[in-house]
């Protein structure tokens, strides 16, 4: 199996918008992940997701990938945007949709 950091990196690099979350957008397993996925859905564009609960290795190692200790984590164009609270801040200002629009162009 490829190194977990390489695997994470692949997901981040191969998807313009990806959220690492607990559960799935359809069946989230954490309030913060749930609301983060809802915000992304409301942007109206397709996005990728990775369920960290279904992959213990990613769950344990993602925090050191981008030096970010909590879930969910949103990456756009290979860069960490932030977690739920930063997404909410951006969402309220209309910046989240703009960012997603630009990335999925």
């Amino acid at each position: 199996m490829a190194d977990v950091m390489d695997r994470i990196d692949e997901h981040v690099k191969n998807n313009p918008v990806i959220i690492f979350m607990k559960g799935t957008p359809q069946l989230p397993q954490c309030g913060f992940s749930s609301r983060a996925a809802e915000m992304l859905k409301s942007c109206g564009k397709e996005f990728a997701y990775f369920n960290v609960i279904a992959d213990m290795e990613v769950f344990q190692n993602l925090p050191r990938y981008a030096d970010w200790p909590t879930f969910p984590q949103l990456y756009v164009k290979g860069e960490l945007v932030g977690g739920h609270d930063i997404m909410l801040e951006m969402h309220e200002k209309g910046e989240l949709k703009k960012l997603v629009d630009e990335a999925t162009g």
Partner: protein, 101 residues
């Protein structure tokens, strides 16, 4: 835990305003748990920094706790200017027991 978070953040970021709220009761954890927290922190250390950088400052200060006891940390990081813009006045001082007379 609440006290630890408060003192570590005070030390690291000299906040103008700091709220550390235990929100564990809102989650599926045993009564009296100290696992889910919300932090509202106002500090000029955040000036000119993007949200990710601000959160990293807080995460760094609470590194040990985040590896262990803290399960969730909701973070609201503001500068003094943003704090006033948001229209939230500073909290009123407590009564301190004086009567009308």
């Amino acid at each position: 835990m609440q006290q630890t978070i408060t003192s570590k953040l005070e030390q690291a970021l000299s906040p103008e305003h700091l709220e550390v709220i235990n929100e564990s009761h809102m989650h599926n954890v045993p009564e009296g748990s100290e696992s889910h927290f919300k932090v509202v922190i106002v500090s000029d250390e955040f000036k000119g920094k993007m949200p990710v950088a601000r959160h990293r400052l807080v995460n760094k200060a609470l590194e040990q706790e985040l590896k262990g006891a803290i399960h969730a940390l909701a973070l609201h990081t503001l500068t003094m200017e943003e704090w006033f813009e948001k229209g939230k006045a500073p909290e009123s001082p407590p009564c301190e027991g004086g009567g009308k007379n």
